[in-house]
């Protein structure tokens, strides 16, 4: 069974290289808990999913994005 193809929203917005400093865009690709969404759910193409994953990890190091969201401590 093939799943219906989704369109990569990053390609559609015309961005070539995902910027790790743009935490507002990156946060669209995080789950409620702050995990990186799989491309299966977000529909991003393979190239942009790879860039996203690096960018999100860099943004986490810089405390722009949390490693874990909704943690009470």
């Amino acid at each position: 069974m093939r799943r219906p193809q989704k369109n990569c929203s990053i390609c559609e917005s015309g961005v070539r290289v995902v910027d790790f400093k743009d935490e507002r865009t990156l946060s669209r690709f995080l789950s409620e808990r702050g995990k990186i969404l799989p491309s299966r759910l977000s529909g991003t193409c393979a190239r942009h999913q790879r860039q996203l994953s690096t960018a999100i990890k860099r943004a986490r190091v810089l405390a722009l994005l949390p490693y874990l969201k909704g943690h009470g401590g």
Partner: protein, 113 residues
């Protein structure tokens, strides 16, 4: 050979603006090469951190786009790590759109198309 880098610093938000500028100058002096331009700085200012770093809830963000040779980096990183006013920093090869001059370099290996 020089490459384009992008450095992000998170300073202690208790530091004065002058102290931050003094540090930036000191760090960038280590990276300066005779044939490169001065780094392009952008101050984001004080922001809330997504999680506390060394019990600090806020930090002063500065982004620098610079060009330097890779041999200068270990000395630079050592100086930045030793500075207690810097909560965290990250320096990466700049993969964003490059200025026109950079496209003349061959074998840059940054673009996979």
């Amino acid at each position: 050979m020089t490459r384009h880098y992008e450095a992000v610093y998170i300073f202690d938000s208790a530091l004065e603006e002058a102290a931050i500028n003094e540090r930036l100058e000191r760090f960038h002096a280590l990276l300066a090469r005779p044939d490169t331009d001065a780094p392009e700085l952008s101050h984001w200012g004080k922001r809330t951190l997504a999680y506390p770093i060394n019990r600090h809830e806020t930090g002063y963000y500065v982004i620098a786009k610079l060009e330097t040779s890779p041999e200068a980096l270990p000395e630079f990183e050592r100086a930045v790590k030793l500075d207690e006013g810097v909560l965290r920093f990250l320096i990466v090869v700049n993969e964003g759109p490059q200025p026109v001059a950079a496209t003349a370099d061959k074998g840059d290996g940054e673009d996979d198309e």
